[in-house]
């Protein structure tokens, strides 16, 4: 595929995304007030503008990168925006700012990270950055409790969830560290089923660390995500099934510990198993979400015609239920399919990449997106116990948007470098 072709595909898809988003926005407004939104012109202009800026940046800084990821992310972002605007005008205004910031972070990442190998060099800085970001909410002055979890940092008027960015920093560190220590970690010695203590050190460290974070910040979702990320990447790097077994065992131990130590974990599990007796208290949010999706049925009530405001946190953790109510199964399947496309493209980038570090990083970043999507949608639909975590690109939230756009930029950077190297090789040989 030529570079021009890829970018033209991206441009076409982005135009489609702008049309879909603007159309959904108009529908939402018609549904709510039976009139065309007054600000449709400026809004459409802004969406088009932001996407165009991102597109131009990709053309300029990663011209050979994959052409599907940015439009799909834009679609999810746009759809999320429509629902946030439909639920809460004030949040929508802020989300516009966050989207702009996200695009800025996206471009900045493309500019700063000229080659993915650069990241590998600063692995320990990333480790420190990740741990530091993760611990930040525990600091006395800036740390804040919101909804019972200590995940937030406050700087002046801005609340920020540093855990979102920590995921990426840690993924970079894991990728670099695991590539470096691959041999050591896969060599168990003769006839041993478990890794040598020296090799098992990091995994125990990750396990202990995620437990610690969970204990201190009461954040089940993120801890689960870190742990799954580390075990997954470790297994990909070493191809040792023993790590998966060990991980599963430690996961079971950790779960057991969490269940027996924290009443809020017990409560989450109880309402997951049977929410109906608690429909008016602890399980209110979960049950309202299920009601919303059930009421939506196959085709949904129509955007702007349902009552998703009945669901607590409908714009953040439960935005998927809001989408389910107003667009029905058709809409939710489309959203899940969009994430599946992102996961598919991410893994394809990982497979095509030539450097082990790039492969591992791309796989890790994709895993973050895929697993996080599963954890929150699975929580809302009651496949797994509910943990408060955002739906990437769709939920309201600045930290989440900025982090996910950075993640997207890294995937595009890896994709671009791979293609560029191949083109250079072909150029040399041809």
């Amino acid at each position: 595929m030529t570079r021009a072709h890829r970018r033209d595909t991206e441009l076409g898809l982005l135009l489609l995304v702008a049309i879909i988003t603007a159309g959904a926005y108009v529908l939402a407004s018609l549904g709510r007030t039976a009139s065309l939104p007054a600000n449709i012109g400026p809004l459409l202009g802004m969406i088009l503008g932001l996407l165009a800026v991102a597109h131009v940046a990709v053309r300029r800084f990663a011209p050979n990168a994959d052409g599907v990821l940015l439009p799909v992310a834009g679609l999810l972002n746009g759809l999320g925006y429509v629902f946030i605007a439909r639920l809460d005008r004030d949040l929508a205004r802020l989300q516009t700012t966050w989207t702009a910031l996200g695009i800025v972070a996206f471009i900045a990442t493309l500019i700063v990270v000229r080659r993915s190998r650069d990241l590998e060099r600063y692995r320990y800085s990333f480790a420190l950055l990740g741990v530091g970001l993760l611990m930040m909410p525990l600091l006395p002055v800036v740390g804040r409790n919101i909804n019972g979890a200590r995940l937030w940092v406050r700087f002046g008027p801005v609340n920020f969830q540093p855990g979102e960015l920590a995921k990426i920093a840690l993924a970079v560190f894991f990728a670099a560290y695991l590539v470096e220590k691959r041999e050591l970690l896969s060599d168990f010695g003769k006839g041993r089923l478990l890794p040598q203590p020296r090799a098992a050190g990091p995994i125990l460290l990750a396990w202990g660390f995620s437990l610690l974070v969970m204990t201190a910040e009461k954040d089940l979702g993120s801890s689960l995500l870190f742990f799954a990320l580390f075990i997954g990447m470790l297994w990909i790097a070493t191809d040792r099934g023993a790590y998966l077994v060990l991980g599963a065992g430690l996961f079971a131990l950790g779960s057991l510990f969490a269940y027996s130590s924290f009443t809020h974990v017990q409560e989450r599990v109880r309402i997951w198993l049977n929410p109906w007796p608690h429909a008016q208290d602890q399980a209110y949010q979960l049950v309202q979400g299920l009601y919303a999706m059930g009421s939506g049925g196959l085709a949904g009530s129509g955007i702007g015609l349902g009552s998703p405001q009945k669901i607590p946190a409908a714009a953040t953790d439960f935005i998927f239920a809001a989408i389910g109510e107003e667009t029905g199964l058709l809409g939710t399947v489309a959203v899940v399919a969009a994430f599946l496309v992102v996961v598919g493209v991410g893994l394809r980038i990982a497979l095509r990449a030539e450097q082990p570090f790039e492969k591992l990083l791309a796989a890790g970043l994709t895993m973050i997106l895929g697993v996080q999507t599963f954890i929150i949608i699975g929580g809302v639909t009651r496949i797994v116990p509910l943990t408060g975590i955002t739906l990437p690109f769709v939920s309201y939230g600045g930290s989440s948007l900025v982090a996910n756009y950075v993640l997207l930029a890294l995937l595009l950077r890896i994709s671009n470098d791979t293609v560029e190297r191949r083109l250079r090789a072909e150029g040399v040989h041809g």
Binding site: G232, W235, I236, A237, D239, A279, Q280, V287, L290, Y291, A292, M293, G294, S295, G296, G297, L298, G306, S307, Q309, K310, G324, E325, G328, L329, T332, V333, V336, F339, L340, V343, G344, L347, A350, L351, P356, K359, L360, A363, M367, G370, V371, F374, I377, G378, T381, R382, I383
Partner: protein
């Protein structure tokens, strides 16, 4: 590493497949269950938010309408006539559901019935609400309200020839507006206050409360004589102060302790208890019960309002309890009737023996003004032959012309009526009057009850208390 990445892809695909499967379960397999779950208020909110038709009177006064608002429900139901039509419109409340016409015609007002939908509507999403016109006019309803004043009771007026209700007023009434409000807490406190009120303002006495009909029931007894045993109509009954009853030592006396007797028209004219009690004994329980049921006792009158009460004529074993039979013949003992039922008795006599189906609906139009349903007069029961009805009418004319109901007379119009003073617990009495006019070609039949008048004197009788109210309503009904 590629092998592992592919496997991870498969694992993620499995997780996403799980999501797809679960979404199908939630949004398709269990969708109806979740959408209709008791805790899911979406459907109720939607019903409450949709446009709703207008209810108006025969003389074009709006009784209920929906106006746009800015809150969650988008529309506010208003009742401009407040308590005057409270028991007829009922209310449309998010918290307490619907009552009255709002409930009886809920689907029509919301535009959900098949008759309001056309093939075109399948393709567009516009709602065609139904607009209801009722047979009651504000003018007559107001006349009934003014005539009854601040006395507990009810007034029912209807057209005996087609069953259309012309006025239906119960006092005390209530204003439906606060119950239709959107502030749940205010609605709850208003509801609690209405329910705690000992005067029961939420109770539509006219069609949902039963009273002993007292002497107005003598019309039914007289009808039984004419229909089942005409020879009794010409038999002179002795003039008595009190009637000795079989199986008991307690005699039955006339109201106010007077003496009376004679043939049937004379007995009805002065409302002779001793005479009618003896007639009851002569007729037997079977015939009296059959006649009461022929007027509609024991059945729910097919009025288009929710929970209309049945009137009761209990078939006790009268052979073993002759005093009960004697008292039932004068509308005491276990006989209990709604004001609506007693109005239907008058209407049956007025309409040549046929009781027409009572109804409030005049017509139902869609939002474009096309009539989709129109009242169609239908007989409900056949109470007696037209000959018997004519004879009974003449007797009831006699009650007005020199009998107990002289105060029901309207100048220039011949009124036919029967009074009633039904003893209740303690020394209280309900004052009754049933009437129709003009006697020769009736256009209005009326029942009036004034609850619990204190004492047993002459000044609390149906003839004193209820007759002037009926007179005012008849006069208003016959004045164009």
């Amino acid at each position: 590493m590629d092998k592992q990445i592919r496997r991870m892809g498969v694992a993620l695909l499995c997780l996403f497949t799980l999501l797809f499967a679960k979404l199908n379960q939630v949004q398709v397999a269990q969708a109806d269950k979740l959408a209709n779950a008791p805790g899911n208020t979406r459907k109720a909110t939607k019903d409450f938010s949709r446009d709703r038709g207008v209810i108006q009177t025969a003389d074009g006064v709006v009784l209920a309408q929906s106006v746009p608002t800015d809150d969650t429900f988008k529309r506010q139901r208003q009742y401009p006539e407040k308590e005057l039509f409270g028991h007829l419109t009922g209310y449309f409340s998010f918290t307490y559901g619907a009552e009255g016409l709002e409930r009886a015609y809920n689907d029509d007002l919301a535009g959900r019935t098949a008759k309001l939908r056309t093939v075109r509507d399948l393709l567009s999403d516009r709602t065609r609400t139904g607009n209801l016109t009722i047979t009651v006019s504000k003018k007559l309803q107001q006349a009934a309200k003014d005539a009854l004043g601040n006395r507990k009771g009810a007034v029912v007026a209807l057209n005996p020839t087609d069953g259309s209700i012309l006025a239906m007023w119960s006092y005390p009434s209530f204003d439906p507006n606060p119950l239709a409000a959107h502030d749940t807490h205010a609605v709850q406190s208003d509801w609690a206050a209405l329910n705690a009120d000992p005067n029961k303002p939420l109770l539509p006495r006219a069609y949902r409360e039963r009273y002993p009909p007292g002497s107005t029931f003598k019309v039914v007894t007289a009808a039984a004589v004419l229909e089942k045993q005409p020879d009794l109509a010409t038999r002179p009954y002795p003039v008595l102060r009190e009637l000795k009853l079989p199986q008991t030592n307690r005699p039955l006396s006339n109201f106010g302790g007077g003496s009376c007797g004679g043939v049937l028209p004379d007995l009805l004219k002065v409302s002779c208890n001793t005479g009618f009690a003896q007639i009851g004994l002569d007729l037997g329980g079977q015939k009296l019960s059959e006649q009461a049921h022929a007027f509609g006792f024991g059945e729910r009158p097919p009025l288009d309002l929710p929970a209309v009460a049945r009137s009761v004529f209990t078939d006790t074993d009268f052979k073993r309890d002759q005093p009960a039979l004697a008292k039932s013949a004068i509308g005491q003992q276990d006989v209990a009737a709604t004001p609506l039922q007693m109005a239907l008795v008058a209407a049956g006599v007025a309409n040549g023996g046929t009781v027409m189906k009572p109804h409030l609906l005049a017509e139902l139009r869609d939002s474009e003004g096309n009539v989709v349903e129109r009242a169609n007069p239908e007989p409900w029961t056949r109470a007696m032959s037209s000959t018997s009805a004519a004879a009974l009418r003449d007797m009831m004319v006699g009650v007005v012309n020199g009998g107990t109901a002289t105060r029901a007379a309207v100048p220039g119009v011949q009124v036919a009526a029967k009074t009633g003073t039904a003893q209740t617990i303690g020394n209280n009495s309900h004052a009754w009057l049933i009437a129709f006019a003009p006697a020769e070609a009736p256009r209005v039949a009326v029942a009036v009850i004034v609850e619990s008048q204190p004492g047993l004197g002459d000044n609390i009788t149906g003839g004193r208390v209820a007759a002037p109210i009926a007179q005012a309503v008849i006069r208003a009904a016959l004045t164009p």
